[in-house]
């Protein structure tokens, strides 16, 4: 019922206040020299609480979200965010804990950190975890620094290269570069898996690490992962697994068994913590035992039922950020995992896989699958412009919004032309999937009967298609 909203600053009226404080006993000028004091007050909106509440409530209603819409964003695992998680994380005892409080005063939080690390170890088969990374990309960077430290510790300073699959997420090469490595891309085969021969060709004494996404961004399992691991290890390199797609393996398989040395998980994906419109996330990193000492500080340790933070860990790559991690997110993931036993964990993966295959099976006649075989947690389909009056994936995606569905991820992975990457997750019902399928089928029909309608979509949203080029050409990024 809302269609647009002024900016907060446009609602500002001098003198209005949304919150006030008791008066200070003395003004700033009494305590500080004049020259350090602010001359011009910041141009912030002046609004009453009532207006602030109304403004942001209305803004919120201009959003699609998981709580209102199916959100089949491939690679993002937009599963339901159980509300109990939120309540756990908000408990005053957890929320009010200062990160420099002595360990005796924060045993509850430390116990959660410790226990979650153990649960993640069990889930993945790896020996040690750090919960410090703030997101997946941060976890990748952490893993890359661990690899660098590992090679350095062995005196091996020639490993300057990291290999990534051409289907990998952009953060993989970007993180590798951030770590100071040269990035070499390895091609995928027509079946969507890494080309083992190409990998073997690329591997050498210069290779520090191979980064692989499992299942990969096509929703497929790297069948030859054992061989990949062996080849990688044979040249003295490490195998990194991007575990952002871990939903497909939850309770089914332990990556340590694949030969993986380092992996990151995305708690804000597979572990049901909400995405918040872009974050916060949490990207724990797990490693095999021989790499544990390189993990960042602080480390949580237990001794006789008491928990401590260790900051002096010889070998550690150091600190990746301030303090111990995104504890508010970590608490939610811990709550989520404790709601499961081994059987339920497994059904997470099973139902995620079932749902992806269901969508794939019901759509592949109109939107062919990038690779024609069962997928795991997500399927990558293609739009065929030649059979749809020239309409492209972007058009289909925008039209889906009119049909009441968030669009899938599009144009990713980069190796698939006109990709529609659909990840339903296990928490969606068959009815929802079927409605989504119907919408995509209806759009296919619309493409033939009324292509203009599709091309100019969306029609029923707060705004129509937005001019991204103009935005980038003359950036207006603040009200100034």
């Amino acid at each position: 019922m809302t269609s647009s909203e002024k900016l907060s600053i446009e609602k500002s009226v001098p003198g209005r206040r949304g919150i006030w404080f008791a008066k200070a006993s003395r003004p700033a000028a009494d305590w500080l020299p004049h020259h350090v004091l602010r001359r011009v007050p910041p141009r912030l909106p002046e609004m009453a609480e009532s207006e602030v509440v109304r403004h942001y409530t209305r803004l919120s209603q201009l959003n699609y979200c998981l709580d209102t819409h199916f959100y089949p964003l491939g690679s993002c695992t937009m599963k339901h965010n159980p509300r109990a998680n939120e309540e756990v994380a908000a408990l005053e005892g957890f929320a009010a804990a200062h990160p420099c409080a002595p360990e005796t005063a924060v045993q509850g939080t430390l116990e959660v950190l410790f226990r979650l690390e153990r649960l993640l170890c069990e889930l993945t088969g790896l020996a040690a975890f750090t919960l410090q990374p703030a997101a997946g990309a941060h976890g990748e960077f952490t893993g890359i620094l661990v690899a660098a430290a590992f090679h350095r510790a062995r005196g091996d300073r020639k490993r300057k290269e990291i290999l990534v699959a051409d289907s990998s997420h952009g953060t993989n090469p970007a993180s590798a570069a951030l770590g100071g490595f040269a990035v070499r891309t390895v091609a995928s085969r027509a079946d969507g898996r890494l080309d083992l021969d190409a990998l073997r060709m690329a591997l050498g004494p210069q290779t520090a690490m191979v980064m692989l996404t499992v299942p990969n961004t096509l929703g497929l399992f790297e069948r030859q992962i054992r061989e990949i691991a062996e080849a990688t290890h044979a040249v003295g390199a490490l195998l990194y697994m991007d575990g952002a797609n871990f939903n497909a393996l939850m309770g089914l398989a332990k990556p340590a068994d694949f030969g993986v040395d380092i992996l990151h998980l995305n708690l804000h994906k597979s572990f049901s913590t909400p995405h918040g419109g872009g974050g916060p996330g949490s990207g724990p990193v797990g490693v095999q035992a021989r790499l544990a000492k390189f993990l960042p500080v602080p480390r949580v340790v237990e001794k006789n039922g008491r928990f401590k933070l260790q900051t002096r860990c010889p070998g550690s790559i150091g600190r990746m950020r301030s303090f111990a991690g995104n504890v508010g997110v970590i608490l939610k993931a811990y709550a989520y995992l404790r709601g499961h036993d081994a059987l339920r964990l497994r059904s997470v993966a099973e139902n995620a896989i079932l749902n992806a295959n269901y969508v794939r099976a019901r759509l592949k006649d109109l939107y062919p699958a990038a690779v024609d075989e069962p997928c795991l947690h997500e399927c990558v389909l293609r739009t065929e412009p030649e059979k749809m009056n020239g309409l492209k994936t972007l058009d289909v995606a925008k039209r889906l919004l009119d049909h009441g569905f968030h669009a899938p991820t599009i144009y990713f992975p980069l190796i698939v032309h006109e990709a529609l990457m659909i990840e339903p997750t296990e928490t969606e019902t068959r009815e929802t999937l079927e409605a989504f399928v119907s919408a995509l089928r209806a759009i296919h029909a619309e493409a033939l009967s009324d292509p203009e309608k599709v091309k100019t979509a969306p029609h029923d949203l707060p705004v129509r298609r937005l001019d991204e080029l103009a935005a980038a050409r003359n950036p207006n990024v603040a009200w100034g």
Binding site: G93, G180, G318, R321, F323, L461
Partner: protein, 443 residues
């Protein structure tokens, strides 16, 4: 139950897929790579889970918090909490489909604008992980922009932030970090000038600095610019309610830890990395940026913009690897700043300032205690104790007070120094208890 399928659902769906069993769908995972067994505790029902969580939370001791050091106990208004937990914000993804995400996008635009206003800058991004990583990103942008390779870090910068920079750049080996010692607790202008050469990409100026002290920022900035170096300011956003904005004293980049704006302490995260810069550097900063544009009908709308900087487009040549950020924390800050307005922020900052100075006076008047450093400060100060600061902290803990952060944790020579922080949250009564407790250590 989080999965919604019944046994019937599963059967019928398998039939629709055309396979006999779920195992057929798993065929691509070689059998020997499946795990037969997970050592896992029994599932807790929601009531059991909540009981378990309450028991754990109760193992954290409630304390009146006089600790700062990069995380401060500021008040979070009820309206902030109520609004950020709305599903429409909480459960949305990064606004990839702009038309279905105008709420998130406009809020990001308002966030960027508010941060620019606070810091006196022209552009800001949609948030970074925290203050420390924001500094790493800013420093890295400065090196790219100047083509220079050295960063000067004052000792008065948060030691853990310096550690983060070391971790970030250590493996790559660049930019090179050089620390300037600050025996007076502040960055000495001539000490900085002595290190300034044409390889210096940026000087980091933290004010208030790690010890709570205000640097002579305008002079430092002027000298740094004189040698072609950029200036990266580090500043607590709350302090900017009373202190001059970095953009106004000459900084080129400004970063800060935004936790204090509407986000609880949460034992260290999620926090909020703030990064703002002058217009000229806008295309060099990392992370999401929201821009204003128009739709096909000419109506105003918002999109993620300048994406050519980012990893999903540029991959290994991207400005940074960041993807997910701290959007919801940024939203909390945006709403908090809208509630505060300039007057509220000033009031809040003045309260912090006033309460901190009063406590500092009273604490320094206790025999055996004194302030470690001279010079103006905001709401943190270093208290020199007659005994190891760790002992003072332990004693106050018994009275329900978190006295501060002992600096021995960072610098072995500072075992008697206690970094104390006072926010608007601390009451008269708590401050009195603090001072009274110090009395026990008077010689």
């Amino acid at each position: 139950m989080y999965s919604s399928h019944t046994a019937t659902d599963r059967e019928e769906m398998l039939r629709a897929i055309g396979v006999a069993s779920l195992d057929d769908l798993l065929a691509q995972i070689p059998g020997d790579l499946r795990a037969a067994h997970f050592e896992w505790p029994p599932a807790l029902s929601e009531p059991e889970l909540m009981a378990h969580a309450h028991a754990l939370a109760a193992r954290n001791q409630p304390l009146a918090c006089f600790a700062g050091a990069g995380a401060q106990d500021h008040f979070v208004p009820a309206a902030v909490k109520a609004l950020i937990r709305r599903g429409e914000f909480l459960t949305a993804y990064t606004p990839y489909q702009a038309e279905a995400s105008q709420g998130t996008l406009q809020a990001i635009y308002e966030f960027q604008s508010s941060i620019c206003a606070l810091y006196g800058m022209d552009a800001a991004n949609a948030s970074l992980y925290d203050g420390a990583t924001a500094l790493a990103e800013a420093v890295s942008a400065a090196a790219r922009i100047t083509g220079r390779n050295k960063i000067l870090l004052p000792e008065s910068l948060h030691p853990e932030w310096r550690e983060v920079l070391k971790t970030y750049f250590g493996a790559k080996g660049e930019p090179v970090l050089e620390t300037i010692s600050c025996p007076t607790g502040r960055l000495d202008v001539s000490a900085m000038e002595a290190r300034l050469d044409e390889t210096v990409a940026a000087v980091v100026v933290a004010t208030p600095n790690f010890f709570g002290l205000l640097e002579d920022a305008p002079v430092l900035a002027e000298r740094a610019h004189g040698r072609g170096a950029l200036v990266v300011a580090v500043a607590d956003p709350v302090s900017l309610g009373v202190l001059e904005a970095p953009g106004h004293w000459g900084a080129d980049f400004a970063v800060g830890e935004g936790q204090g704006l509407g986000n609880p302490l949460n034992y260290g995260g999620p926090y909020l990395g703030l990064l703002a810069c002058r217009k000229a550097h806008m295309r060099h900063i990392p992370g999401r940026i929201c821009g204003l544009t128009t739709d096909a009908d000419g109506r105003r709308g918002f999109v993620l913009t300048l994406q050519a900087r980012e990893q999903h487009i540029r991959r290994e040549r991207a400005a940074s690897n960041i993807c997910s950020n701290e959007a919801l924390c940024a939203l909390a800050a945006t709403i908090h700043l809208a509630l505060l307005g300039p007057a509220g922020l000033k009031e809040m900052a003045e309260l912090c300032l006033d309460k901190a100075h009063r406590l500092a006076e009273q604490a320094a008047a206790v025999p055996g205690f004194r302030l470690c450093f001279d010079g103006p400060f905001f709401n943190e100060f270093v208290l020199e104790c007659p005994v190891p600061a760790e002992r003072v902290r332990r004693a106050l803990l018994k009275r329900g007070l978190l006295a501060g952060v002992p600096l021995g944790r960072y610098v072995t020579t500072r075992k008697h120094s206690l970094l104390v922080c006072v926010t608007e949250q601390r009451t008269e009564e708590e401050c009195e208890r603090f001072v009274a407790a110090l009395g026990d250590f008077a010689p």
